[in-house]
């Protein structure tokens, strides 16, 4: 209960001070404290070169009820998937007779902070990889197991479990490795490219109109620090490439394939935009 009082007290204290809103849907001024213990960075100064002064987690744009779900791990519906991910972590699969735990042991130690640094440069592949592709690489190279198809098998729960070991850690990619800078640039170009019959880019909504309502949708900055994320409207855990594809579909455009060069470049760039926000996986959104 303590955490709920904290959130409520903060809301009351700040409601008076920040009551001058230009429009209905600005970010709420509250602090996300998970289970009354983990103080999350959900608003922070943006990194150099960022077009916005402040980066804000999507948590601030959700309703009071949705925000409360994420603040309590017993209430968070995505924690069931995290538990599934833990089971997968300990399950032997493939011809080599190994589980993730065979090599990596206790994930709370071996994976602590790891997910906060993805996507990372992968010298073997010659491209950046995210946690999903790192899992597939391990499965193929070390376990003798089939790689997961996009969003299938244990991909979402295992990714959520691994990223959850970084809960509260700041998002921090290393753009100096390999050709990460080139991929960042390609991602930036895509972020500002208008797609589809509706002729919208990521920036049109998430840079220019975050905080505003488009019909019933409250636009956030589109940061990805909480993925995989539980989306109430899909009643499911949703991967970052699934969300990218959904957004692009909504512009009435053809969707790039998951893990394609386009979407990996976009993931690199969008992840960078949310640098220094806490990893919230699994976040809860509308």
């Amino acid at each position: 209960m303590k955490k709920h009082y904290l959130v409520t007290a903060a809301a009351i204290a700040l409601a008076g001070a920040f009551s001058v809103a230009a429009h209905a849907g600005g970010p709420v001024d509250e602090q996300l404290v998970i289970d009354g213990e983990i103080e999350m960075t959900t608003r922070t100064e943006s990194v150099e070169g960022h077009p916005l002064d402040e980066v804000i987690s999507g948590w601030h744009y959700r309703t009071k009820e949705t925000r409360a779900l994420e603040a309590d791990t017993f209430e968070n519906p995505a924690m069931l998937y995290v538990e599934q991910g833990e089971e997968i972590w300990n399950t032997v699969e493939g011809t080599e007779g190994k589980s993730c735990a065979t090599c990596h042991g206790d994930a709370s130690e071996s994976m602590a902070g790891v997910g906060a640094h993805y996507p990372k440069w992968d010298a073997d592949a010659g491209r950046p990889i995210n946690v999903e592709l790192q899992i597939n690489k391990c499965r193929e190279e070390n376990m003798g197991a089939e790689p997961y198809a996009f969003d299938k098998g244990g991909q979402k729960p295992l990714t959520a479990f691994i990223k959850h070991q970084s809960l509260g850690e700041p998002v921090a990619m290393d753009l100096s490795e390999g050709e990460m800078q080139n991929w960042w640039e390609k991602g930036e170009e895509l972020y500002y490219t208008r797609t589809g019959q509706l002729n919208l880019s990521c920036a049109t909504c998430h840079e220019n109109y975050n905080g505003y309502y488009i019909r019933a949708d409250h636009l956030s900055q589109g940061n990805v620090n909480g993925f995989p994320t539980y989306r109430l409207k899909q009643a499911s855990l949703v991967s970052v490439h699934n969300r990218f594809r959904g957004c692009i579909r909504d512009t009435r455009a053809e969707m790039p394939a998951a893990f394609s060069d386009e979407l990996m470049a976009l993931e690199v760039y969008v992840t960078w935009r949310g640098s220094n926000l806490s990893v919230e996986t699994p976040a809860v959104r509308q």
Partner: protein, 154 residues
């Protein structure tokens, strides 16, 4: 025979309607926006404000409410706030100006505006295959929406 007469009349009406569309509708690429106006009806027909009111709200058609609030449609939930409220828009703009804005607002305001062009083929990349070469609204739907907007007076 009454039956035959009616059949012939219906057939004649179909021919007339087809002819009217074929000869008077302006294709998206041929619409001229000059001095911020499109002076003539895109369909060659007047708009129907009641139909326009529906197209305005329909999420599959105009979905104008996604961005614009309007008190005339207070029975609809969730009016957006990305664009200006449209109460009194019929006082602020002439029907010819409203038509130009609906056709291609980027030609009127700025290339940066979020508002899509509802009768323009100047669109984003990778358009969904079944929509290539198609506009968001038909010529008549634009006319209907313009007729509706013109009724929004204060």
């Amino acid at each position: 025979m009454a039956f035959n007469t009616r059949t012939w009349l219906t057939a004649a009406a179909v021919v007339a309607a087809t002819t009217a569309v074929a000869y008077s509708e302006t294709a998206p690429g041929d619409v001229k926006i000059e001095d911020g106006v499109v002076s003539a009806s895109l369909s060659g027909q007047p708009g129907d404000a009641a139909a326009g009111r529906k197209t305005f709200a329909d999420r599959k058609l105009g979905n104008c409410l996604a961005c614009h609030a309007v008190s005339d449609q207070s029975e609809q939930l969730f009016h957006g706030e990305v664009g200006p409220e449209l109460d009194g828009v019929g006082d602020r703009w002439s029907p010819e100006e409203l038509r130009a804005i609906v056709v291609n607002s980027k030609a009127i305001f700025s290339d940066e505006t979020i508002m899509p062009g509802f009768y323009s083929l100047d669109v984003g990349i990778d358009v969904r295959k079944d929509l290539v070469g198609k506009t968001i609204l038909t010529a008549q739907q634009v006319e209907d929406v313009v007729a509706y907007l013109a009724t929004l007076k204060e």
